[in-house]
Amino acid sequence: MNFAAISTEIFILCLGLFAIVMDLVLPEQESRKSIGGVLIFSLTGWFLYMFTLYNGQLDPMDPAAMAALADRFFYQGLYLVDNYALFFKQMFILATVLTLLFAADYVQSVLRYRGEFYALLMTALLGMCVLASATDFLTMFIGLELMTISFYILTGARMNSKDSSEAAVKYLIIGSVSTAVMLYGISLVYGATGSIQFFEVCRSPHLFFPLGIAGITMVLIGFFFKLSVIPFHMWAPDVYQGAPTPITAMLAMGSKAAGIAAMMRALFVAFPMLGIYWLPMLSVLCAACMIFGNIMAMRQRDVKRMLAYSSIAQAGYMLVGIIAADPAGMKAVMFYATLYVFANAGAFAVLSVVEAQKGSTSYRHMAGLAQSAPVLAAVMTISLLSMAGIPPTAGFAGKLYLFTAVVDQGYLWLAFVGFVMSMISVYYYLLVAKAMYLGAWDGSSLAVSGSTRAAVVLSVLATLLVGVWPEGLAELTNLAASTFLQ
């Protein structure tokens, strides 16, 4: 038992427990911002420490290096900490830190149970980290459930809002159905191959029989629910709109990326031989996401709801990299998921300020933001443009990586769909910009706290930096993708 391999998970668990204890110890009336502060500092520290954990390229001929490989496994191969897992864990921690930064005021002014918010956010983060490392179906399932159940509760955290409760119930019911489907799929895969370990499943010839194929399909459907891939996307708009804004942000950047991380590992490790089955299905669904996600987003009147549909389209873009099914595609997905974190953090930080102080995030309430809070309006515009892939924001480089990878594998038509739809998406992103810059200003000005300011400035700077100079992130993702499974 090599507990050093799961140090990150242990650390996060301790933080979650700490949040619960602090909540009990602090007097009832006192602000819970201090918990958030502690979490931000410890997670940032751990985030920086994780840079030291990356391993270089391994030489397969060197027996000493191969022996060291065993240290990266935990519990007899159920759990693997490779560069890929490290990268995704860092991304989740980054997303959580940015969310905590801008959530402090929101939590204080909108939510009733504040300490629990922090504790549950940590368990959700723990679930995501487990997903990134899982190399067997059961561990993966545990991670998925830990994450999703935490989100069920967090979604309903706005106790006095009907929307929030409706969203929580809807998410719970649809989420449970998808869980059931996935679990059934796992049981079928187990029935066909006699194992739940990825490495053993992939060696089994029985996967090619109908039982195995049915199992794979159901496991994939389970993932599609989590990623809100069309046609399994119905829950996303209502949940995104109803959930407290910081949670919507975590759903968009964390939950989605965690689903992608686990799905890539399952597809590339457990089912690589069956590419001929899942590749065509995936490419059709991916095109459907890019087309319909973007088209449905056009008619929305609420920014959070619009972002829900846009996140469906974004899931489509990320699937493009999976369809490439090579290190270049994998690298592109990781690159894109990271810059999507920055873009979402910026956009949702703005929305949480607007929602907390104006009560709604409809386009009407965004009007005049350019005058009431010029920094927020600029941040929102830049973040949305990054999602659309307009330079000099990071989205442009990200999309270029994704589509060069997939065109290299011969899917030129996907690049057509992707580029055309992302240009169309500029239309509805600009509608938000129009509301902010042209809408009538009621003369008020929004109060923006220091921590929110830090979150938006950090995320926008990162978006612009990666857009103009992607080299640093590209190298890290290259390393993570090329040493996948080492």
């Binding site: 270029l400 690049a415 169309i424 600009l430 590209a474």
Partner: protein
């Protein structure tokens, strides 16, 4: 001056001005303007220096800079100018400085306006000096969003609302660029095997020469590029954004958009279409020539029926772009030189037109040919500007417009005699709508309604002076422009020889 990063400085001047403006108080309007004017003056002076110190006898890319940028994509921060891009760069900086002066009297949120204007100018500058396709695309797409925001905030609503105009402009250009991006990605992947891939345009051209691109691929990829650059150049049937967009846009945006941004389309067709995909260019040339004819005749015909000054100039610019396309489609050194020179000529005159229209509109809030009359009595200097631009537009010898058009006709006559004759007859239409418009608004009896409006003076004269010097200077000394362009297009000679017998669409109609 050997190691001085001249082009980087030209690029960074507007960017640093934009960054600096973020820290200037919004109330310090005069410092905002002065900072922008200073930055653009620096850029213009350096560009003029580059223009005159460029060694035409050597030719090729000069003032080169190269820094590795993104290693795994093979992107280099590579800058350089040759005889084709240097005139375009000069045009950008001329119009950029003129645009700063034309926006001097903007009172609504001037700081934001100037920040966006600087980003816009930096983006256009970058496209012309980039030797790397990635940097080119980056700079090209950067300009779209500032334009949208500038149109919806500072634009004007007349026949179409400014929101509509802005969105139409944006969506047209972005859709065009979506197809172009697919073409570029295909080009990039096809040129070299993995690990050796690069976005360097010269390397891509070398790969084309080495035979990396099959003929079918070139035809396919060139078509995608044509969709992108064609819609930017307002090629029929992708032209309709142009008049609406110019009408809705504020003066400075109209100037830059009609003056230089549009020219990125023609520049891209030559730099990327012709140099990298010569067989594709040859294949589609007859189609381009046909569409060019429609541009020239149809747009000029519509311009006849317009009353809004901005629409007249908008359609006139679509019509002039027809000449550029015709020069490109004829695919010989003379005609391509004419096309490049005509882009410069049209840039200067349309910017001057829009600057003058902007000045008149700002004072009188009128833009209609029906309502404006006799302005030469009250505003003799503005009238001079109008006359200069108008005469250049219809190709009066001695002004900038004559030589380029003449060169295009000479060059394209051998290739497409029918089209060339039709295009020459298009000048009659141009003369008709230009002279009619000028006669109505400038001359005739004095109208007392306009008596209390001042003529341009001081800063408002600057656009007229800057653009007027270029207009007359290049008109009297056409060799300054044509020599430079010629040294750039000379490099096309072996390339054009090679594709002389390549197949073309429609059997290469004449």
């Amino acid at each position: 001056m050997e190691n001085f990063p001249l082009l980087t400085t030209v690029l960074l001047a507007p960017i640093s001005a934009a960054l600096l403006l973020c820290f200037v108080s919004a109330r310090a309007v005069q410092s905002v303007r002065v900072i922008c004017a200073a930055a653009m003056t620096v850029a213009l002076v350096l560009t003029v220096y580059a223009f005159f110190s460029y060694d035409m006898s050597v030719g090729g890319m000069q003032f080169m800079e190269d820094v590795p940028w993104i290693t795994d994509l093979g992107v280099h921060y590579a800058l350089g100018v040759d005889g084709i891009s240097l005139p375009m760069l000069l045009l950008t900086e001329l119009i950029g400085l003129a645009a700063v002066f034309s926006s001097w009297s903007i009172e609504k949120r001037p700081k934001e306006f100037y920040i966006l204007l600087m980003i816009l100018i930096a983006g256009v500058t970058g496209t012309f000096i980039a030797r790397d396709l990635f940097i080119f695309l980056l700079c090209y797409e950067v300009v779209v969003i500032p334009i949208y925001i500038m149109v919806i905030i500072w634009g004007s609503t007349k026949r179409v609302s400014k929101e509509y105009a802005g969105m139409k402009l944006t969506i047209y250009l972005l859709m065009g660029s979506a197809f172009m991006l697919v073409g570029v990605v295909a080009l990039y992947l096809q040129a070299f095997p993995p690990e050796m891939r690069t976005f360097d345009m010269q390397a891509l051209a070398a790969a084309a020469q080495a035979g990396s691109f099959s003929e079918e691929f070139q035809i396919f990829a060139f078509f995608l590029l044509l969709l992108g650059f064609g819609s930017l150049l307002s090629m029929f049937p992708f032209h309709s954004w142009s008049p609406d967009g110019y009408a809705g846009a504020p003066t400075a945006v109209s100037m830059i958009h009609a003056g230089v941004l549009k020219k990125i389309g023609g520049y891209g067709l030559i730099r990327l279409g012709l140099l990298v995909l010569p067989l594709g260019a040859k294949f589609w040339a007859p189609l381009i020539a046909g569409l060019a004819m429609i541009n020239v005749m149809y747009a000029a015909y519509i311009a006849l029926a317009q009353h809004d000054l901005k629409y007249v100039i908008g359609y006139s610019s679509v019509s002039h772009m027809g000449y550029v396309l015709l020069g490109f489609a004829a695919l010989n050194v003379v005609s391509v030189s004419g096309a490049v020179a005509n882009m410069v000529a049209h840039g200067v005159m349309s910017a001057l037109f829009f600057a003058m229209i902007g000045y008149v509109y700002e004072r009188t809030h009128l833009r209609s040919v029906r309502e404006l009359r006799g302005l030469a009595h009250q505003m003799p200097r503005v009238a001079t500007g109008f006359m200069l631009a108008g005469m250049a537009s219809l190709g009066l010898p001695g002004l900038i417009g004559f030589m380029p058009e003449f060169t295009i006709f000479v060059g394209s006559f051998s290739e497409y005699p029918v089209f060339a004759v039709l295009a020459i007859s298009g000048i009659i239409f141009t003369a008709l709508y230009t002279l009619r418009m000028l006669a109505r608004i400038l001359f005739g009896p004095r109208d007392s309604r306009f008596d209390h409006f001042e003529d341009a003076r001081g800063v408002a004269m600057m656009p007229l002076i800057i653009l007027g010097i270029a207009l007359v200077g290049f008109g009297i000394f056409p060799q300054l422009l044509m020599g430079m362009v010629g040294s750039g297009t000379e490099q096309l000679l072996p390339l054009l020889d090679r594709i002389a017998d390549a197949p073309a669409v429609l059997g290469g109609i004449r």
